[in-house]
Amino acid sequence: MIGTIVDTKELWETVVASLVAGVGITASFSVMIFSLARLADLRRSDRPLLAAGAGGMAALAFIVTAGGIILGMVVMLSK
């Protein structure tokens, strides 16, 4: 009966997309924070190669997070 009232395919897509977006954004933002904190520590302890790696990871995580935010804005604007 519920299947005739609610589009179950649409509902399932909403559940999966919300889960991926919610957990994904938190994960990428957490990686960014972690990498930036490591970057500061590694630069202080004069380990430039590892610091560069942490910086690269922070940049990648920033791109993923910013991409998620931009996607959210696009969803709002295209409503």
Partner: protein
């Protein structure tokens, strides 16, 4: 002339509802940021008010009003809309009195359903619409936000757990400002649209606008202003419940709750699945608390919130039906609507001023919360 008077009253009541919607739902956007000190309280509500105002302009395409999905379009008259709004405002004020976050949209739907029941009988109410647009989303949306919030906080702790708390806390607090901004924009877009839809519906029903007419700019700007003013007024009681009484929150939990809420709201918007922002954010807050430790959630407070959700539709419907009945009892014309509007405005003002004078916390309660 009589129809015009009713129309003016409906517009004023819709803007009053928009104002209560703003101050009632401020908590959705700012409670977690204030609780974790990501932003000072006044700055947070100011920020949310501005973004709610901007959000109201993002999309001007008035979707079929929610009311059209739950009641027969032909049963909607300006008086029914007025009585429905009275039901919604009353429920918003009642839940604000007790500091309970509940859905303004569901209150509006409940009010309109109740007024329609009184005006045209049960045949004019679309049961499948209520089930599909209100009841099923009311179960799924907060549950989904709860699960995402619980998973997200564990992911956040897992990744950042070994780092020094200083930079991690600052990072998540910054993230909360961004995610809070997204929520405020989404709220302004969604909720101000409902008021614009209600006013446009009344203008069409009155013959002031044709059915194909666009939303007049004065409607857009007045709805945006009302929700922004309401947001800036700040529903501090609900902010306190959402920010500190459900769980004692750290910045990672605040970010996870807001992130879960924003993800559910935006993906649902994309797929066209209707939901209540209040229920989603509440679910996210509870999930980010339970994900850390089940006992971290004050389940008594959470239970009160769920009871308020269950009561929203029938309570707003009962007041909406009573408001419609009283209007009819007084003759049903413009004078009757005006009398009910004046009585409601006076009662609302008394409630608002009386409760605003009461301090948020008694001394003993404040000491208990400080020690918690």
């Amino acid at each position: 002339m009589s129809e015009d008077v009713i129309l003016y009253i409906v517009v004023a009541t819709a803007l009053a509802f928009d104002f209560t919607n703003g101050f009632h739902d401020t908590a959705n956007v700012v409670a977690t940021s204030i609780s974790t000190r990501a932003m000072p309280p006044r700055l947070a509500v100011g920020f949310a008010a501005v973004l709610n105002f901007v959000g109201a302009f993002i999309s001007l395409e008035v979707a079929a009003t929610v009311a059209n999905d739950v009641v027969e379009g032909g049963a909607i008259t300006p008086t029914v809309v007025f009585a429905g709004l009275i039901g919604a405002i009353t429920w918003n004020l009642a839940t604000w009195w007790f500091g309970l976050p509940s859905s303004s949209s569901h209150a509006l739907i409940g009010g309109v359903v109740g007024a329609t029941l009184a005006a045209a009988g049960a045949g004019a109410v679309l049961g499948e619409g209520i089930l599909g647009k209100v009841l099923i989303p009311a179960i799924i949306a907060p549950t989904l936000a709860f699960v995402i919030g619980a998973i997200a906080i564990n992911v956040a702790y897992g990744i950042t757990g070994r780092e020094r708390p200083g930079p991690v806390g600052r990072g998540f607090r910054f993230g909360q400002v961004v995610s809070g901004g997204m929520l405020a924009l989404a709220h302004g877009t969604n909720d101000a649209q409902k008021t614009m839809g209600v006013i446009t519906l009344a203008l069409i029903a009155n013959g002031t606008l044709s059915e194909s007419a666009e939303v007049p700019f004065w409607v857009v700007i007045s709805a945006a202003t009302a929700i922004a003013l309401g947001t800036y007024t700040g529903g501090w009681r609900i902010i306190r419940t959402m920010g500190t009484r459900i769980i004692k929150m750290d910045s990672a939990q605040g970010f996870s709750a807001q992130g879960a809420g924003a993800a559910v709201i935006l993906t649902s918007t994309h797929f066209g699945f209707p939901l209540s922002t209040t229920q989603v954010i509440s679910g996210g807050v509870m999930g980010s608390g339970a994900g850390k430790r089940l006992s971290a959630v004050r389940w008594g407070v959470a239970g009160n919130i769920v009871v308020a959700w269950l009561l929203t539709l029938p309570a707003a419907a009962a007041v909406g039906a009573a408001a419609y009945g009283l209007t009819e009892l007084l003759g049903g014309g413009a004078a009757a609507v005006a009398i009910v509007a004046i009585i409601s405005a006076m009662a609302g003002a008394v409630v608002f001023l009386k409760r605003n004078r009461t301090p948020l916390l008694g001394r003993s309660q404040a000491r208990a919360e400080a020690g918690a």
